[in-house]
Symmetry: C2
Subunit: 259 residues, 2 copies
DNA sequence: CGTTCGATTGAGGAAGATCAATTAATGTGG
DNA sequence: CCACATTAATTGATCTTCCTCAATCGAACG
């Protein structure tokens, strides 16, 4: 099993956010709107270059000089960290409304590859122009900082997941996140087209492709997911909450079920 | 062993940055200066509230409304992510020049605890004031964005380490990072006072406290580190490069040593 | 000086990596 | 459109790593 994060037993605290189903839907609509508003703002204030991309297209490479940030309008993208010694790691997946390229600001060159995983559209935003425009339109700064902040939180959640969840739970959590991401963007969350190989998913989650495959098979066997038609790329998720339950179940080392 | 990040064998590329020892020292001095300049800028432009803290002091809690950012002047701090279901995860360690609180910007409240691990000083910076002051002094915006960017990169490196390194290598890499962090801040890098329990280190690295202990014992046995005096809290690092070598060695699954 | 907490070390077991074989999907040229 | 070649996914068997449990040791503190 995993290390169960027992820093201090006394440190535990009641749950932070107690989500009410109704509110969830409400806030989700708000998020959809928020993304649309942000994109409208960027379009109006900066008239960014719009670029159509296809699976495999490179937005930028590690080592490229930093000049632009990019915002996803449609499609989805992976960020791949490259370490000098040959290790490579998918460190993020980005959807509509997400920004690409923040890592480049500090060092003046990009630290990872950004690659399209599907047909889509990215907007190119010159960093200098953005800062200049923000002087007159402070809302630009707000959306920029929110996006950076959100990305930081997301990265930390990933780290927490990798450190505290079993392989099965990670896969379940991954699917849950993906479904949530789609819902927050106004897309259907009951069905997702992964368009990633098992190897890529495994790399992202820090497990092998075989473990991903086994986890998916187990989830299907337990009716938490099912595969759409022939081919096991598209996943049907009848009930997102069931995925969260599965994660919880994998978390508790049997027993403690009653009591 | 771990999953060895073989997304595509053909994808491998020659090492990105080829560090020359001389330049390393030069750029390190530059980093020291950079941090000092940033702190001077913040002091001059914002006259931040300076707060002395001791081990255990809380800078902010998860759930607290977001209003301020904090900059570490001295000491060091941990960031602890709290998940509703009881999992908790050390997601970052912050030293002089690092900022705390970025995660709060997006949602309007902090998403983790920030806790002092030693005596030190943090500067409180009201986010609103910072943005206002940045209108007249653009350098403030630059340092803010660089700090956020750097933090994002760091988070991704952590994720990569957790996903690709063995338990022993993670501990070695952790020590190496710490030593580097001290060097970049003008402190001695041949000796580090952890002031973290094995449990905390393990939590941060996604392994158990026993694995941390065993890894440290192994590193000591192989002369890569040694313990200072009685007590195994302070670690002596005769040669930082040896730590990097140890990480590399753990990376390659035997064989391939020659050829 | 005993108590307590943290660290170390050992033994056993479980999760997951590795190796290998099979099957399914995809692509290619005839 | 089909036979073949190629690549991705699944599943099983084995082995390694690391987690779990437990005992011991050391340091710190009242």
């Amino acid at each position: 099993m995993l290390n169960t994060a027992n820093l201090e037993a006394s440190h535990s605290r009641p749950q932070l956010m107690h989500r009410v189903p109704g509110r969830e839907t409400a806030s989700r609509q708000a998020v959809v709107q928020q993304i649309a508003d942000m994109l409208a703002l960027l379009r109006d204030e900066l008239a960014p270059l719009r670029r159509l991309v296809h699976a495999g297209d490179v937005i930028y490479h590690a080592g490229d000089p930093f000049r632009n940030l990019y915002v996803v309008n449609s499609g989805f993208f992976k960020l791949v960290n490259l370490i000098a010694d040959g290790r490579e790691q998918v460190v993020g997946l980005k959807f509509r409304g997400d920004w690409l390229g923040f890592e480049g600001i500090a060092e003046g060159c990009h630290a990872c590859d950004a690659i399209a995983m599907d047909t889509g559209e990215v907007w190119t935003i010159r960093y200098e122009s953005l800062i200049a425009a923000a002087a007159k339109q402070p809302a630009l700064l707000t959306v920029l900082h929110q996006a950076m902040s959100r990305q930081l939180s997301g990265e930390r959640e990933s780290l927490t997941a990798v450190c505290t969840l079993t392989a099965d739970a990670r896969v379940a959590d991954f699917l849950r996140h993906w479904a949530e991401a789609q819902a927050e963007r106004g897309l259907r969350s009951d069905q997702i087209a992964l368009r990633m190989s098992r190897a890529e998913i495994g790399n992202y989650l820090g497990i092998t492709l075989e473990s991903v495959s086994r986890a998916l098979s187990r989830l299907a066997r337990e009716q938490v997911i099912s595969f759409v038609e022939k081919g096991r790329r598209d996943v049907h998720i009848p009930n997102v909450a069931a995925l969260a339950e599965f994660v919880q179940r994998s978390l508790v080392p049997p027993s403690a079920t009653l009591q």
